[in-house]
Every structure is written in C-alpha cells, then in structure tokens.
Subunit: 396 residues, 2 copies
C-alpha cells in the first residue's frame, strides 16, 4: 500500500531485527533495536493504573536517562501477570543484554497483545541467543522490526526526517485500546543527533502532547502504551528547536497513521475545536466529539447528522456553550459547508453536500464554540462493523 | 415477545392515547397522558448543556410542582431549533391544553428523535384537535401510548405495581444516546397515590439515582432525557416508604428493560463493583467497565478476555487498585467463576467455562476492587454490528 509519509531512512549506529520466534504462528513476533553505543533516552508511558510488567521494568530502566537497546514481542502483553511477569520482563532485558554484551538496565522491554497470559519465556530465551546474528541496519531490517511489533495493525508504520546532519526515525504500532490520555501504543524513535537526556525528556513531553495525546480510537486506555526516544549522538549536536519541530512533525504523522489504521477504521477524522475560552475547554470538547460513538458511526455512514455534534458539545458539562455560539464546518480543500446550530432554516444546510463530503477517506471538521482564542486539533477514526468483528472474538 | 415484568395496570383518573399523525410514515408517533384533575408532579431532565426545546419548556412548566398532562411526539427531537423550537414546544402545550380545557402550563411537552429538524407543527396542531375523542384508560390505550413514543426501541416498555390502595405505572422509551449521568431517555410515571410535589421530588431524585442513572448504552448523553412522575391523589395517602420502595423497583425494571433493548444489543449486562473505599470509587470504576467498547465487544463475542476488565479498572486514574486486590467473578445462579487478576496460574482460570457463561442473554459480573465497604450496580449491554447499522445511516 502507498504510504503518504517520507520513505524509510536508516540512522547511523542503530541496527534492527524483526523475526518469528513462534509466539505467533507464522508472522513476525519479536523485534530488537540496538545502538552501537549508549544513548540518551526519554520515555512516556501509559497512565493506566495497572500497567503491564514491561512498563514497570521499562520505567525503572529509563529512570537515569540512559538506554542502548529495546526488545519487543507481540501477541502477548505480559499484563496482569504478577511477579512472574516482572521476572519475565527483566529476563528479556537480561538475555538481550547478554547477547549485546551490555548491562540489562540499558535495555527497555515492551510486550503487546493479549492481557493476562504468560509469555512463552523459553521460546524468547532461545530467540535472544540469535540476536547478534540477525541484527542489521538496512531498511529491510527496519521494516521487519516494524512488522514484528504489529498486532491488529493492517500495515507497518514509520516516519523519518533530517535535522542538520542528523536523522530522526520513528516506528510505531497502534490499532486499538487507544485514547488520548497519555502516550498511546508502542512508538520508538531513534536519532543520531546528540542531545542530553534532560533535553530529550522536555522535548518528548511536548511532542507527545501534540501528537500521540491527540488521537483516539476507542476511548480505552492500554496498559502497555510506550513512547521512547534514543539519541546516540553519532551525528553531533543539532539545533534543538529545529530538532523539536522535525520530531513533532514525524510524531504527528505517525499518530495520524495510527488513527487512520484504527481497528476497523475506514476514515481518518481531523477535528479542530476553535473559539474556546481556554485550552482545557477546547481539548475536552474535542475529545467528547472524537470519542462519541454516535458521531463516529454517523461519519462512517456519511450521514449528515450534525445534531450529534450538538449533543457531544452539550455533554461536556463543565464548559457550557450557548447554541447561538456553536457552528460546525465540514471542510474539503477550499470547500466549507457550515451549519449554524441555532439557525433553523433547512434551506441553509445542504445535507446532501455534507453527505458527499463525508464520503471521503479523510474528513476535516472544525467546530467553533465561541469567540475565544483557544483551539485544539485531534485525530480519530470512524466506528464500524470491522471494530466489532476484530474485538468480539479477539482471544478465541 | 415475553415481558418479564408485571402486566400492564391502568391507574384511576389517567387516560392515554397513541396515534399516527403522519410524522412517521405509518407507525404511531404522537401520544398524550391526561389526568382528570391536577397532579403533584416532579421531574428530572438531561444534564446536557444543549437540551432540546421541550426540556427547556418542560422545566419551566414543572417548576411549581403541578401538571395535568403530558404530550409527546417521536421521530423529531426539536433540539437545536432555536426560538422557533421553543415556540413549537409551547404551542404543543397550548393546543393540548385547549383540547383538555386546562392551562398550557399544566402540560409537559417531550419530543424524541432526530436533532436539528423542525417539527411538522401544522400536522401536530391538527392532531391536537382530536385528543379528547382519542383518549381512553384501557390497557390498549396505554400500550398505544407506549408504542407512540418509541424510536429505535424494538418493543414498548412499561412496569406497574401496587402500593396500598394505589397503583404506580411507568412507561418508557430508550435505545440509544444513553449514559448514566442523569435522567436518561423518556420515562413517565403516573400514580393515583396522594403525595405532595415536595415528597415526589425527594423520592424521584433518589429513585432515578438507583435506576436510570445506573444504566449505560453508549456513553452518549441525550439532549432530551426526561423522567417525570404525576400523582393525582385519587387513591388517597399511602405509606411513603412503601411507595418509594415500589417506585424504585418499577424504575429499576424499566431501566434494565432499556439497557436490554439498547441499540443493537443482544445481552443485558448487570455489573456490580464491590469492595470499594467509597461510593464514587465504586461508581466510577463500574462506569468505566460498563462503557468500555472493548469489554462490551468481548461480552458480545462471549470472549473470556478478562484482561479487558483489568484495563478498564486501571484507566480510572483517580482510584488506583492494586492488581493483588482485583478479582473478577462471572456468575450464573449459584455458579461463580473467579479470576484473580494477579495470580497467573492458567490452570486456575477456566476460560472455556467463562465463555460458556458469556453465551447467556443475561450476564452477571462482580468485580471486587479491595476490601472496602462500598458497592454499586450498573446495567448495560453488549456492543454489536447492530449498533453500527442503526447509527451509521440514522437520518438517511
């Protein structure tokens, strides 16, 4: 399939692998990223109170801002697995560290998939022994890594860009249990730019807030969400503002790719709420709309049922919006179809034109809630029978 | 279809009608309840900040605790219709009042259906002229009223009981845009018991909190939700505690009927969260679980994916629950299948038995979150392709 973001770029000093260990039947299920030297590192993790074992171990290992490798399996999430799960996650770091001849604390572990099952830990131990012979830095190696971390994703996801002499590359997986409350899904960035872990932390926090914290697929918050960046410094210092701008752009592209590829999704929705009196007001109304099952199903069916936007704005109890201040704008290029929520002249609202516009695969909507100066943009997807199909029988 | 609640009882002094005025093509679309004398009355309405015109007018009319009639149309909700909508709602009261020879302020109006369209007000005016000749107090009249207020409901809903010499009868419609944040859907109760409007208000508030505020279908909050009770006093005083107990039981039956008949629903879910340290903690965790799309789809597919309960408990950020304190109990009669979230002995969890239990049409689940003394029970339904079908093309 055609990817609408820049092509894959390798990054100096980083090597990758994606292989099948037999955790899944045939497709790739195990991945490693390794740097040739220690990296500055920063990460953000799920806010879910019951995070998976890899998140618990990963938070510890990244605490001092140093990492050199990442090890990931898909199919089983290693969540709700108690002390055994913690041991398993630590062993994944230990065995990866042994293979790479680095300290286990320099390895960040991730697991994604079903909750409440134990990892096939012997299989993983065997797999770790082949890490060094499988690692490589070609785009093919990177693509295999991107495939190895997939669960219900329909395609691998990456995004890369250049900053001065340095490169930033991000690889992610998404698909379900995703809501903008914190770092969502698994997303790994590597760069050869030289930045301290303090710099990385501050930048990552802001970047995640503009990208992964602005997407929603189903309002559920995963127990495994992780966004990590590793900087090995091989390309030297870069302008940090330029770096942040490029990183933000890459992260937003990946976040949108994740929303577009939401479970069962057929449409990407970009929603801007503007005219709000504060940032929290804009964000909360935007989240209410992008998460509303009735808005999402209407967009799926290209049903110009704009009243559901009125409902979704009105159910944000903390921020009342007078009907007279509320308007909904359906956009496509320069075409804008506006519904003023209070004016009830049926002739003014061209429902057929709105329906035609909602047939597109990318839907742009702006909801104006007043004359305030604050706005927020979020991304989501439609709610379809495909979502039900994927989730009604996930473990069976 | 078989109704599992007591059969329909008429109530002295109340008459009913349900007819087709041509707002819908053929099915009943207009209903009236009229008392032969003024009633004490109390109501609770949606918390949505953008309520429909009938809710705005209804709140005004019920302010002084006196009502004598209710007029309802289905198909169009008269929401987001500005000043014209308010006029239309007031006219519905005026014309109903004219027919019944009572003040328009004694009439409560309701409309349910699509948002953002104007009522066919001339049709309704014509219809109001035939009110007196159509009213009747037979169970057939009541059933027709119950059918006339339906939108995507698959069957009419009522519940009745006796208290001393008095009767309580409730009639409701539900089906979508329903979440336990306040009075949900349209629900009308009438009784011939004698109670003051102050007594009714206090009782109604408590009853709604135990019934309609404990159901959820899709987490969306309607702009039209209304629960009203009219007491005409013809049967004299009753014991208020007995009255409240009977009213609570009736309201809970109706609330469960609404959840069971949620859009596309195939299963009723009764969920109790117990062992919480406070009432808000129990309720918030219960709502997180009952609203989780991933829990709802898993139950639809009878998928024993209990990890999703762990996720839904963990995403209530305000109330952390240690994994060791969390257990999930799937119940059917005396059979209880328990999953302790932390103990990871696959042999202990009989997934096949849980799956078999989830095949039932009534699902009983208790989630224990600690050793606290607080618990809450909520009702919801599964999320199915039927929900997508009904909502993707609702107005088209």
């Amino acid at each position: 399939m055609a990817m609408d973001y820049p092509s894959l770029r390798s990054v100096s000093g980083f090597s990758w692998l994606g292989i099948n260990l037999g955790i899944k039947d045939e497709s790739l299920d195990f991945g490693v990223i390794a740097s040739e030297c220690e990296c500055s590192a920063a990460g953000v993790f799920t806010l879910n109170n019951l995070p998976g074992a890899p998140v618990i171990v990963g938070r510890e290992n990244i605490e001092n801002g140093r990492l050199q490798a990442i090890v990931v399996n898909s199919k089983i999430a290693n969540v709700a697995t108690g002390k055994t799960g913690i041991e398993d996650a630590k062993n994944m770091c230990l065995w990866t560290g042994e293979a790479l001849e680095i300290a286990p604390e320099l390895v960040l572990p991730s697991s994604t998939g079903v909750i409440g099952q134990r990892l096939p830990i012997k299989t993983i131990h065997e797999g770790c022994k082949s890490i060094t012979e499988q690692l490589g830095s070609s785009t093919e190696h990177i693509e295999k890594f991107a495939r190895a971390i997939m669960t219900t994703d329909t395609h691998p996801k990456w995004s890369s860009c250049r900053v001065g002499n340095a490169t930033i590359l991000g690889v992610a997986k998404g698909a379900g249990m995703i809501e903008p409350n914190m770092a969502t899904m698994l997303s790994y960035f590597v760069t050869d730019a030289k930045l301290s872990s303090e710099e990385l932390r501050a930048i990552l926090y802001r970047v995640v807030n503009k990208s992964f914290n602005r997407i929603s697929i189903d309002s559920d918050t995963s127990t495994s969400d992780t966004v990590v960046i590793l900087a090995n410094g091989l390309a030297g210092r870069v302008d940090t503002e330029e770096f942040e701008a490029a990183f933000t752009k890459s992260a937003m592209q990946l976040a949108k790719e994740i929303a577009r590829d939401g479970e069962g999704a057929t449409k990407l929705i970009e929603l801007t709420v503007s005219g709000a009196k504060s940032q929290p007001m804009a964000l909360q109304i935007a989240k209410s709309i992008i998460n509303s099952p009735l808005v999402k199903t209407a967009i799926h069916g290209a049903d110009p049922n704009w009243g559901r936007f009125v409902m979704a704005v009105g159910k944000v109890f903390e921020y009342p919006v007078p009907l007279a201040d509320l308007s909904i704008h359906f956009k496509k290029g320069t075409q804008i179809l506006t519904v003023n929520a209070e004016s009830l002249d049926a002739g003014e609202v061209d429902l057929e034109a709105i329906s035609a516009l909602l047939q597109n695969q990318e839907i742009f909507i702006e909801v104006v809630v007043g004359s305030g100066n604050f706005s927020e943009t979020v991304w989501g997807c439609d709610l379809t029978k495909g979502y039900i199909e994927e989730n009604a029988f996930y473990t069976t």
